[in-house]
Symmetry: C2
Subunit: 359 residues, 2 copies
């Protein structure tokens, strides 16, 4: 295997090089204490300061209003699929927009612990897209309306979130910290960290405090958001290293100019790659143009043999992780926050060269 120059993995995904360098040093000695970040008590001053900084950075960068709490949990978005419903869909049904594999998972898991309904279903539509506003059945009696902000498998994204009489609950695992969030419409946002926030092992939940408070006190402590609201996510030993790296990533986001600056950067990277695909007459984007993801660019070659050849040669050229999800095949370039423009340029150049040779 060639050494990787640019990592297009859908997740766990590329992190900024300076974050990796600092995290690497801290695994041996964190802040010249003589202690590894892996071996520190989570009740000690050094870790606690990093933990509180990470919470504060997420709040600052995403402009989270004071009526929301930021939590660091475990189990990934998949655990949130049911946990959201246990806490929020109490005595009321919850409505789901079905847009692909991840929304599907959220819907199925919530259905095990609550009454769930389909508010819209764009799963079978080709090319892939999210529902139009007119297609969403809005029900004011719902506990919430669930949306999956970005579907990594099909490469589609809600460019604007739906207007809804009930709070939105949103899985933002694959695009959090890549764009601003209109908080007034939201009740809860959740995201596994391993795309834009840090390594796997920590899940960020941002929940309106009055919503968290209403959850049944009979829920197990770890599954009840209110436990973690009250304890600043230090109810038990948190996933300290993942949270530490998240602190470093959020410092890096600040140094880049914040979320708005990254959003502009992300839009430019995606526009350039989509433009190259559209102009090629060789590569074909799979998502509806109005609903294309700025995080996961999915496309096909004229046939599967060429796709296999493309992946092999890309790998040999140090461009890794370009294989599409096994459920749909094809190619996928995941170009999260930490993917530099030079990575996208290298991919575009490789694609042009490949086309010249094989097209």
């Amino acid at each position: 295997m060639a050494r990787v120059k640019f990592n297009f993995s859908a997740g766990p995904a590329v992190l900024p090089e300076e974050v990796l360098q600092e995290a690497s040093r801290s695994v041996v000695d964190c802040g010249n204490t003589g202690l590894s970040i892996l071996c520190m008590s989570h009740r000690g001053g050094t870790y606690e300061a990093l933990h509180m900084e990470a919470l504060a950075n997420v709040r600052d960068l995403l402009h989270v209003p004071p009526e929301f709490a930021v939590l660091f949990l475990q189990g990934g978005a998949t655990q949130q699929f049911s946990q959201v419903a246990m806490n929020l869909a109490v005595g009321k049904p919850a409505d789901y927009t079905l847009t692909g594999q991840w929304a599907d998972g959220a819907f199925k898991e919530a259905g095990k612990v609550a009454t769930v309904r389909v508010a819209a279903d764009s799963r079978k539509i080709s090319p892939a897209r999210v529902p139009f506003p007119s297609e969403i059945k809005i029900s004011p009696d719902a506990a919430y309306l669930h949306v999956t902000s970005n579907e990594t498998v099909d490469g589609i994204q809600w460019s604007a979130f739906p207007e809804s009489p009930v709070p939105l609950v949103c899985d933002m695992s694959s695009d959090i910290m890549s764009r601003e969030i209109p908080w007034s419409r939201f009740g809860l946002v959740y995201a596994g960290a391993q795309k834009n926030l840090g390594p796997a092992g920590v899940t960020v939940v941002i929940v309106r405090k009055d919503v968290a408070e209403k959850a049944p006190s009979t829920l197990p402590a770890m599954l009840r958001y209110q436990t973690h609201v009250e304890k600043d996510s230090l109810h038990n030993t948190p996933p300290c290293f993942s949270i530490y790296v998240l602190a470093l990533v959020t410092r890096w986001v600040k140094a880049q100019g914040g979320v708005a600056a990254l959003e502009a950067h992300n839009r430019a990277k995606a526009a350039k790659l989509y433009a190259a695909i559209d102009a090629s007459g060789f590569y074909t984007g799979t998502a509806d143009k109005a609903h294309r993801s700025i995080m996961n660019v999915t496309y096909r070659l004229p046939n599967e043999d060429l796709e296999k050849m493309f992946l092999k040669e890309a790998d040999a050229a140090g461009l890794s992780g370009l294989k599409g999800h096994r459920a749909v095949g094809g190619l996928r370039a995941s170009i999260y926050n930490a993917m530099p423009a030079s990575g996208v340029d290298a991919l575009i150049q490789f694609m042009a060269d490949f086309q010249k040779r094989k097209g």
Copy 2:
């Protein structure tokens, strides 16, 4: 703060120096792939091989029989407190031995999702100890009998596990991999990794497969052991880095000669420290001698002022993490697998010097 020479933290706790060095390198470049261990797809070959090695090493080292599955989960022991009961105490009550803070937590959380009963209660007994066999109310109608192998707060440990007509379920967070496990008596063992296995963020569960199978299929996927049994703990993105470090730690345990060798090493370290305490006429062990923990050595000085002074001077001498749990005060030296004999020797020397000056 002085640089730490020996880290007596109760957890997250000391890890072997060679593990930290290798983990540090892999945060920048894992196995000369050019990819950080933090940025690799969990579906890729490099990570999968490490994941499967970690599972196999736990099985080998603990002599886990084939009828048990080894799982890597998230949420710590605290999540297992309720998860165990959701999966195992279905239509049957579960019995608990109450020995201290951690058994207490397991009992309370299980009580939110199942019928629980007290089989024995040694919490108010002084000096602290676990129940004698004659004190345990054995009930053949129970789904399981829960024991907390080692109580870190009080420094007590089951030196032998109870005989029971129903399977034992055991929280081994603070002594797993420090001694052999008599599997024939067990239905399930769980342990947060952050003492003897690796960093925080991964929880090891070892469950008899026929027990896992019987759990209700209506449980959310993440909370159902069977999901993880069927998917080799790759149902969703696992806490990859914590599992990777666990793989390194288990390699280190093998290089030390395995669990039996570490057990002998641990017993020798603990015996030496307890002997120094008992012979001092100045330091006083808090646990009943027959039930002393070989992992967490708890003791007191003649008064709290001396304890404060001791902690401050120990810290200045590079001996960190010696403060007792806030619930009980005093001193606590956690001497897990990765604490070298030289660390215990340094502590004993410091204790003797301190006594000479202040005793």
